[in-house]
């Protein structure tokens, strides 16, 4: 049963082969318009394998849980499993640490410890006699990501076959989708940090290539460059963080590092702090956290399905995944267990807040969604920062589905509305494209966190994590979380308003997208509804008498073998907090509705009259409340705060990036001109020309007349003789 877990390398291998096949034979053998079949088939196989892996993993966890009653036997099995994990793959792997340590589960507070399945082969590279292995590490977290990546990737592959049809580079598009899927899968099952870097960079390159897919236009390539370079900045942190971890523990092995942190604890606190700060920079760039988030909205220059796959559901969560993967490091480094505020939680919370604020100021539907992604990623990072590992991963899981659905919906809208993403040229589309509209609304409700959609459950867990904390609560994070919940609901309602309600403001005749696009939308929408069921709290399940199915993510995905060692605790569910979260979301929706309605009447400002024409007459009588909310809450957020944030974003952060780039170029020019050419080169040239002018001077003496030479000869002889005879 564990076959797939031990041979997990097949999972990234298949899309990688698909990449090569499409790239090498796509145009010639397969035919340019048929390459999507290769990609879809490959990802389909991988999806099946991932599901198999999930089933295998769950079985494995079940097995180890049932053995828990018998400690001795449990240990024995763990050893056996470790052995089979490393040898059954037919690779000359070593008996791994995983097989030797088995004691963590016993004090795990009621949770079974299930060892990760590590398959590795030695000799990937070596130094001073130490061989570094390459291999796969499969545990619950990996399996969770496998499901997310392959599912979204499969749907995007299918969706794209219509959306990108007839594109100038259809073949390249599918090739890079395959390569991206391969890289992302390689990343999530990395056994060591170097592999992690490899995957991390490769997804970045695919992102670069796909953002710049239409590279004939300058803005697209600028956006691609910006994305890649911003990520490179974060990669400095990744490199240094990995190096610090290697320097401290002498290994790249993720499993060994996590266990070592658990054992050593505060002995290595300072090193872990440094490593965490460095790695945090990497997270900021990859997962669009403040202050390195600016590339993500620009990255929307790529094709929309790519935005859905890479810049919403999968690649951008790489940073979150990495934190989760190296959680003991961050837990120790940032003292998550004992503090009530820390860098990670603050960056996450703050990013969530400013991302949500910025989403109000956008007219481009994809940019709204991009800022929303920034905000939601901030949520996940914040969750990890407050110690809510499961909540973060659960939110990652649910968010992937509803955000992908939103992006694909936006793509569908644009497909209908003549390839524009400007909401001012949309409107009233609910009549023309009912499927897109329905799925978009469902996903919006999920994102807003309305009961009982998926987002509600995962957001609630994050708020719960902030509320309970570990040893102490994280009050600021709780406030951030609640405010963001409100804002999220508000800006998403605004999007729906502009896009689907009112009269159509664009040109041409909008139409519903074909089935090949709407079916993926519906699948994602269904997931947006039911994904929450994967980690329902026990009290809720008790209502249905299905207590055994509660906390699935927590039970199966959590790497208890690491987390138990650092003593991570799980807060009990809180009904009232859930109510608060729900109220926030509903309030956000309500406020927005009122805002748009309020501008209809004669008291409204003239600039907002067209919203009135768009029609929200049934909200008219709530005028006073609307006035209050609009001017004080939404107005203050929209005008000063969001604009200021946007201004800061464009004029300060962006400016700093641009200025730094220009400054580097200018100083490069300056150094080149004055130091390189001016000083160093001139010194060399001066030596040369000095020799030359010396030669010119001496040249006068070369008269060509024998007697002059003779004079010189005898004169010199005389002088030398004088020196020898008299002086010496």
């Amino acid at each position: 049963m564990d076959w797939i877990l031990e041979n997990a390398f097949l999972i990234p291998l298949i899309p990688a082969v698909s990449f090569l096949v499409i790239l090498l034979f796509g145009r010639s053998v397969i035919g340019a318009e048929r390459v999507h079949r290769v990609g879809i088939t490959a990802v389909g196989i991988v999806w099946v394998l991932s599901m198999l892996a999930a089933v295998s993993w769950i079985t494995r966890v079940e097995d180890s849980t049932s053995y828990k009653s018998d400690d001795a036997e449990h240990a024995q099995i763990a050893v056996n499993e470790g052995l089979s994990a490393s040898s059954a793959g037919g690779l000359d792997g070593e008996l791994h640490l995983a097989a030797e340590d088995d004691g963590y589960g016993d004090d795990g507070g009621g949770y079974a410890t299930t060892e990760p399945v590590i398959s590795e082969v030695d000799g990937w590279w070596s130094s001073s006699g130490v061989d570094f292995a390459v291999g796969t590490l499969v545990d619950g977290q990996t399996v969770l990501l496998l499901i997310v990546v392959t599912s979204i990737s499969l749907l995007v592959h299918i969706y794209s076959s219509e959306y990108v049809k007839g594109d100038r580079r259809f073949v390249h598009y599918y090739a890079f989708l395959s390569l991206f899927t391969a890289s992302m899968l390689f990343f999530v099952m990395a056994q060591n940090l170097v592999q992690m870097i490899v995957g991390w960079e490769l997804v970045g390159v695919c992102s670069f290539a796909l953002i710049g897919h239409w590279w004939e236009e300058r803005p697209n390539t600028d956006a691609a460059l910006k994305a890649f370079l911003t990520n490179r900045v974060g990669d400095i942190g990744l490199l240094i963080g990995v190096i610090i971890l290697f320097g401290t523990f002498g290994t790249f092995d993720i499993d060994a590092i996590n266990r070592a942190v658990g054992e050593m604890g505060s002995e290595v606190h300072f090193a872990m702090l440094m490593a965490s700060i460095a790695l945090m920079a990497a997270v900021c760039s990859k997962s669009g956290q403040f202050p390195l988030h600016t590339w993500l909205p620009d990255a929307m220059a790529g094709p929309t399905p790519v935005s859905a796959l890479i810049h919403a559901a999968t690649m951008v969560v790489a940073g979150v995944f990495m934190i989760g993967r190296l959680y003991p490091v961050f837990f120790e480094g940032f003292s998550i267990g004992t503090s009530s505020i820390n860098l990670m939680a603050f960056i996450g919370g703050f990013t969530a807040l400013i991302g949500a604020g910025l989403a109000f100021a956008q007219w481009d539907i994809k940019k709204v969604l991009a800022y929303s992604t920034v905000s939601q990623l901030g949520y996940m990072v914040m969750a990890l920062g407050v110690g809510a590992w499961t909540a973060a991963m659960f939110h990652l899981f649910t968010h992937a589905f509803f955000k992908a659905c939103l992006f694909l919906g936006a793509g569908s809208v644009s497909h209908a509305a003549h390839h524009t993403f400007d909401m001012r040229e949309m409107g009233g589309l609910r009549k023309y494209m009912p499927h897109t509209y329905k799925t978009f609304v469902i996903s919006t409700l999920a994102l807003a966190g309305v009961f009982p959609f998926a987002g509600f459950w995962s957001k609630d867990e994050i708020l719960l994590g902030a509320f309970a904390g570990q040893e102490s609560a994280y009050p600021l994070m709780l406030i951030f979380g609640c405010v963001v919940a409100l804002l999220t609901a508000a800006y998403m309602t605004r999007v729906i308003w502009y896009t689907f309600w009112g009269e159509y403001r664009g040109h041409g005749h909008p139409h519903e997208s074909p089935k090949v696009m709407t079916v993926p939308l519906w699948i994602l929408a269904v997931m947006a509804v039911v994904a929450g069921a994967f980690n329902l709290p026990t009290p809720v399940m008790r209502i249905f008498g299905l207590e055994g199915l509660a906390h699935l993510v927590q039970t199966y995905a959590e790497p208890t073998h690491y987390l138990n060692a650092i003593g991570l605790s799980h807060p009990p569910p809180s009904f009232w907090l859930a109510v608060v979260g729900l109220v926030m979301a509903l309030a956000g929706i309500a406020i927005t509705f009122m805002y748009f309605w309020r501008n209809t009447g004669p008291h409204g400002l003239t600039e907002r009259n067209r919203y009135a024409k768009a029609g929200y007459t049934f909200l008219e009588q709530k005028y006073y409340l609307d006035h209050l909310y609009t001017d004080i809450v939404v107005g203050s957020i929209k005008a000063p705060i969001a604009r200021a944030a946007n201004w800061v974003n464009d004029n300060v952060i962006d400016k700093v990036v641009n200025t730094a780039g220009e400054g580097a170029r200018d100083s490069g020019r300056w150094v080149y001109r004055w130091i390189d050419q001016g000083t160093i080169d001139n010194t060399v040239n001066a030596l040369g020309s000095g020799a030359d002018s010396g030669g010119q001077g001496l040249r006068v003496m070369q008269t060509g007349k024998v007697q002059n030479y003779g004079s010189l000869l005898f004169g010199t002889a005389a002088v030398v003789a004088i020196v020898f005879v008299i002086v010496l």
């Binding site: 130094s127 170097v194 490899v198 590279w215 780039g661 170029r665």
Partner: protein, 525 residues
């Protein structure tokens, strides 16, 4: 160590086969160009065939010891012997050199630069091949020096005859710079001959490199070692080239013909770094330890400075040339840490840089041939007019900026890694600062390479090229480039191919330095 049978001849063949080819070519009239090319290709491929034999016959379990050894008398008057040998350090570089030369010959099939004369150009290439191969296998200082200098003149003529507009200036600059370094280097060699002692304090009076390495400086005082090291440092550092001795490089590269640039970048620069690892470090451990912080400093300055220089360039070839300064900075940083991982990284970096930058120069040559300019602002839309070439440029640029999965990464990352904990009692604080600066350098690298790629490959082709046919990669180019692209990807995914070979030697060197300087070696070989 002396080998028998064919093994005893293998290295001699590797060194002299190209020279024999050059001799044969001299006898063939200039007009019979095809035959001349066939002879050149034959000679270089025959050398490569011996190289393949070496690859298979090499004992990888004993990569740390010299194999295929030859030891014959040569110039008895000065105790210089004809000693050749191959170990894990020489092998990758030797193979690199043997691969690059046939590729250059193939590339030259239809790309003989102005003013023509394929015969002379190919003969020079073969002489270069002899010199370079000889440098990598020579195990006697005088022999090493002879081979080291043999490469100088052909390259001088290559630049001076087939170069661009400013070729005289560039070739002279190259020649004088290198000769200056060589002069100091030979002084140091002679000094080594006279002052090097064994542990017992008896003078060695030998040029035999393995004996000198085994002595590891003997009981020479740190000051003496540092002075001798300074001479070697100048000789090798100019060749590398290290900041601030790098100014010959952009000029030489810009003016040189394509194959000249390729050979220069791919192999000639490696002679310097190879010299550091093979001669300077093991012979003078104390000197190396004394100089290491300064080498490290110059290396990181080179990384940042080279990158800044790149950002300021408007000429594609000159940009690539400046990037060499930055990349060799990583190599030198690895060497300066005096750790096995650093030296491993350096050797990997050398090979990777040879492959990648060689490839980039090939591309620059082909771009120049098609557009008759390398002015970046006049290029653009390469992906549109010649898509395959554009993609190859993309892969090469990505490899050059150190993308994992391609060869460049394994030169950079371990070099940065090694600076975290330098060996031989070097200051951790200093080297960790270097580490951060070097890591910042990777961002710059991405910046200038992508900037180059964006300007030259993305976008629409410039209007001035309307009506011009920009041909895509032709079959000679495919033949010359495919092995390099394959190597980039192969080494990117299977770095153990090089690390595994070099590791024994680099651990040995680092260990002997550690033992000599701080009296202990934390690495087990």
């Amino acid at each position: 160590m002396d080998a028998t049978g064919f093994d005893a001849w293998a290295l001699t063949l590797v060194v002299f086969l190209p020279a024999v080819g050059a001799l044969v070519m001299m006898a063939v009239p200039r007009a019979r160009e095809l035959e001349l090319k066939m002879i050149a290709l034959g000679a270089s491929l025959a050398t490569l065939a011996v190289g393949v034999y070496l690859l298979f016959a090499f004992d990888y379990g004993n990569a740390g010891t010299l194999q295929f050894g030859v030891h014959k008398g040569w110039i008895d008057a000065i105790n210089a012997d004809y000693i050749l040998g191959l170990d894990g350090l020489s092998l990758p570089l030797l193979i690199l050199s043997m691969v690059i030369i046939p590729l250059c010959v193939i590339y030259s099939w239809e790309h003989i630069p102005e003013p023509g004369n394929a015969k002379a150009l190919l003969i020079l290439m073969l002489i270069l091949a002899s010199g370079m191969n000889g440098t990598f296998v020579a195990q006697d200082l005088i022999l090493f020096f002879v081979f080291f200098e043999v490469v100088l003149l052909p390259m001088y003529f290559m630049i001076g005859v087939w170069g661009g507009e400013n070729r005289r200036y560039a070739s002279l600059k190259f020649f004088l710079f290198t000769l200056f370094g060589s002069a100091l280097m030979i002084v140091s060699f002679v000094a080594l001959y006279f002052v090097a002692t064994n542990d017992a304090g008896a003078a060695l009076n030998t040029f035999n490199m393995s004996e000198l390495a085994a002595a590891a400086g003997g009981d020479l005082a740190r000051g003496t070692q540092a002075i001798i090291f300074a001479g070697l440092f100048m000789g090798f550092g100019i060749k590398v080239p290290m900041f601030p001795f790098h100014t010959w490089l952009p000029d030489a590269h810009t003016e040189a013909p394509t194959v000249g640039s390729v050979i220069l970048a791919a192999i000639l620069l490696k002679l310097g770094t190879y010299g550091f690892v093979r001669i300077a470090l093991p012979f003078l451990p104390e000197g190396a330890a004394a100089w290491a912080p300064w080498i490290g400093l110059l290396a990181v300055i080179g990384i940042i400075y080279g990158a800044l220089g790149c950002l300021a360039q408007t000429d594609m070839k000159r940009l690539i040339a400046f990037s060499s300064v930055a990349h060799m900075g990583f190599v030198m940083l690895g060497i300066a840490t005096l750790t096995p991982i650093g030296i491993n990284a350096a050797v990997f970096g050398m090979v990777a840089h040879g492959i990648i930058t060689g490839m980039l120069f090939f591309l620059a040559g082909s771009v120049k041939e098609r557009y008759h300019t390398l002015e970046i602002s006049r290029l653009g839309g390469l992906l549109k007019s010649a898509p395959r070439m554009g993609w190859i440029l993309a892969i090469s640029a990505m490899a050059s900026l150190g993308l994992p999965g391609l060869a460049g990464f394994w030169g950079e990352f371990p070099a940065i890694l090694s600076a975290y904990s330098p060996g031989a009692g070097l200051s951790e604080g200093t080297f960790r600062t270097y580490m951060v600066i070097a890591a910042v350098g990777t961002v710059f690298a991405a910046g200038y390479l992508l900037w180059l790629f964006q300007r030259s490959a993305f976008g629409e082709p410039k209007p001035e090229w309307e009506g011009h046919v920009i041909a895509d990669v032709n079959r000679y180019e495919w033949a010359a480039w495919t092995p390099l692209i394959i190597a980039m990807v192969l080494f990117g995914w299977v770095p153990g191919l090089i690390f595994g070979v070099v590791d024994d030697v680099s651990t040995g060197i680092a260990c002997s330095i550690g033992t000599a300087v701080v009296g202990d070696c934390p690495w087990t070989g």
